[in-house]
């Protein structure tokens, strides 16, 4: 056990899996010598050589498409998109191919690959429109994919290992703000966190907050604040976005009767809409207040100027305010 940053958990999971299984390879822009622009793959090149830690040409369709090919022929590629924002030149390979190959071949072929993407932004990231995007709604809608978005280093390591061992394509979303802001004691050796189950991070009887990635941390902070004001919040970490753990989501809603779904992405048609829609259907009889969402506004992104960054991004204060309003409903 040692305290590790979120980004170190990424690295550790990859290093351990690559040591365990020769078929695991890492490919992406600057993942080799540079060790990744976020330093998530530092030293892996030295350890595993340039056939397994591949500095690719600057072309995301290639990264995704070549990874699919590798996965079809016995390797277990981890493909990194340098920023989630830059995954879109490769979107066709993921949308048309990765998620559909197993199904369309009636089980004849499988695509055991992981598509890692740093995503998200917020105050202090200064990523502006093209280094801050939340992209989960695009990927979680694609049938045949699995999509995870962990908030804690423990989950990062366990879920990434599970993703690497999974026989399906898994989109693995790493929140940039968490990389060096979130620390946690995690076991040194091997362990897995299963893809699928959500996790209740805190229990309270007045309201349920749903979040993932960095918004989970903001929600937990908000819950602290709310507690000081006498409002006790349940906080659900929706760490797997596809498939969704409907049972945990619905039960947590039923227990409090009030829900707030928090996400950093643009509100409209965002991933939180699905969570809200599920609750509005399956927990309906238990609801005491409108199903509410708090998310980024419907503008093309987090502006570069600090003022714009702050205005765009949901945070603990905004969450607490919205939750309070609901609790008093």
């Amino acid at each position: 056990m040692a305290e590790k940053f979120y980004v170190d958990a990424v690295r550790e999971a990859m290093a351990e899996e690559m040591a365990r299984d020769e078929r695991v390879v890492l490919l992406g822009e600057d993942v080799g010598k540079r060790g990744g622009v976020f330093r998530a793959s530092v030293d892996l090149l030295d350890q595993f050589g340039e056939r397994r830690v591949i500095d690719t040409p600057l072309a995301e369709a290639s990264i995704a498409g070549v990874a699919i090919g590798m996965a079809l022929h016995g390797l277990r590629p981890i493909a990194e998109m340098q920023f989630a924002d830059f995954s879109f030149p490769g979107f066709n390979q993921v949308q048309s191919e990765a998620g559909r190959i197993h199904y369309r071949s009636n089980g004849g072929w499988k695509v055991p690959m992981v598509l890692r993407m740093p995503y998200g932004g917020g105050p202090g990231v200064h990523g502006a429109l093209y280094h801050s995007q939340s992209v989960e709604a695009f990927y979680a809608h694609i049938p045949g994919l699995k999509v995870v978005a962990p908030a804690f280093p423990y989950d990062v390591k366990g879920l990434l290992k599970a993703a690497i061992r999974d026989d399906d394509p898994v989109v693995f979303l790493e929140h940039k703000k968490c990389y060096r802001a979130i620390k946690q004691e995690i076991p040194d050796g091997d362990y897995l966190v299963p893809i699928g189950p959500a996790e209740v991070r805190r229990e309270g009887r007045h309201i349920t907050l749903y979040a993932y990635g960095n918004m989970l941390h903001e929600s937990l902070k908000a819950a602290e604040e709310l507690s000081r004001q006498g409002i006790e919040a349940t906080v659900v970490d929706v760490r797997t976005l596809k498939p969704l753990d409907k049972k945990t989501i619905v039960e947590a809603a039923k227990a409090t009767g009030r829900v707030l779904v928090v996400y950093e992405d643009n509100l409209t048609y965002g991933a939180g809409a699905e969570i809200a829609a599920i609750i509005a259907d399956e927990a309906f009889m238990h609801l005491d207040a409108p199903v509410r969402r708090l998310a980024g506004p419907d503008v093309p992104g987090i502006g570069y100027a600090s003022v714009l960054e702050k205005e765009f991004t949901p945070d603990a204060a905004k969450i607490a305010a919205a939750a309070r309003e609901l609790a008093e409903f």
């Binding site: 699919i68 090919g69 004849g108």
Partner: protein, 332 residues
């Protein structure tokens, strides 16, 4: 042919090549016929391409090499061992169709046991898969060549160029084939590109590039053989373009009269590779008319039987819609 061999091909080889291309032709004709009779919603043909397809795939080793074909590659998948019955099961969208169990449109071939990789309808995506598979084979120290093909129109896709680039950087054992029939549905090659030949792009990525007349089956075979040998020697990929006629509309949904003149369509008929190869084999004394007729009869019987058997097979059931979504299912 004075001796029995040309480029290492025996008479039996030549006859088998002919039989395969004729089989592709007859299956294709049957599919269009069934469509016209209202017994199948869709067919897309290989007619005109099958000669080049057999020429190229004869250089591959079924059971070892892998193909990532496109929808016209009926000749190629037959060479890899797909049976006429399997082809027709897919055509009728039957549950036991090997490619997809009735999920995909016909001609979207897949057969893991026979080294045929599933493709989508989205053109050119498979070229990148070929690069990735070839990289994996290198890494696993396997001696395999990866065939992948597209039409000249699809060669306009960015992903195709990215695949050429990857193959160049890693000297991958890939045979990139462009079947240039001068049309992408209705769009002539002159609106697709400012060059006459797609193969001229190879040099820009450090690949060998060559264009061959798809009616000259043995020239095609020779070029493919060289490319395959280069790949096996670890010298990298080749972009092989074959000039072929498209002897039908794009598919049964198309009406080529809206964009081709009658003369143009007539002229194409003179470029039929099956007829050409038959004449060639006769000229060379490999077969006589009787034998040709016998082969045709045998092939037709095979096609009849495949059709009958396939037509009788079971359709998918409604519940089949939901299966095999994930290879690692998740219980929640």
């Amino acid at each position: 042919m004075a001796d029995d061999r040309r480029m290492g091909l025996t008479k039996e080889d030549l006859k088998e090549m002919y039989r395969l291309m004729l089989l592709a032709r007859r299956l294709d004709e049957r599919q269009w016929q069934l469509n016209r009779m209202g017994q199948a919603p869709f067919a897309i043909g290989c007619r005109g391409h099958e000669g080049a397809q057999i020429g190229i795939s004869w250089a591959l080793k079924p059971g070892r090499d892998i193909v990532l074909p496109y929808y016209r590659d009926l000749g190629v998948v037959l060479r890899m061992g797909m049976t006429p019955k399997e082809v027709m099961l897919d055509f009728f969208a039957k549950a036991e169709g090997p490619s997809s169990g009735g999920r995909q449109m016909p001609s979207h071939y897949s057969h893991p046991q026979k080294g045929i990789v599933t493709q989508s309808s989205t053109v050119a995506t498979q070229t990148l898969h070929a690069a990735g598979m070839a990289y994996a084979a290198q890494q696993l120290k396997e001696d395999r060549v990866f065939y992948t093909s597209i039409g000249e129109g699809s060669a306009s896709q960015g992903e195709f160029h990215e695949a050429l680039n990857w193959a160049g950087v890693y000297k991958l054992p890939v045979l990139f084939v462009v079947q240039n029939n001068q049309y992408a549905i209705s769009v002539p090659a002159s609106k697709q590109m400012a060059v006459d030949r797609v193969s001229v792009r190879a040099a820009g990525f450090g690949l060998a590039g060559v264009t061959v007349d798809g009616l000259k089956i043995l020239d095609v075979y020779e070029a493919a053989k060289e490319a395959v040998e280069r790949a096996r020697r670890g010298e990298g990929a080749t972009l092989l373009e074959v000039m072929v006629p498209r002897l039908t509309g794009h598919s049964t949904d198309d009406d080529p009269r809206t964009y081709m003149t009658q003369e143009e369509m007539e002229a194409l008929k003179h470029r039929d590779p099956v007829g050409h190869f038959a004449s060639f084999l006769k000229e060379q004394g490999v077969v006589g008319d009787d034998e040709l007729a016998a082969i045709d009869q045998e092939v037709r019987k095979e096609v009849d039987q495949a059709t009958d058997e396939a037509q009788k097979a079971a359709d998918p059931r409604p519940e089949d819609l939901y299966t095999r979504l994930y290879a690692t299912p998740i219980e929640l």
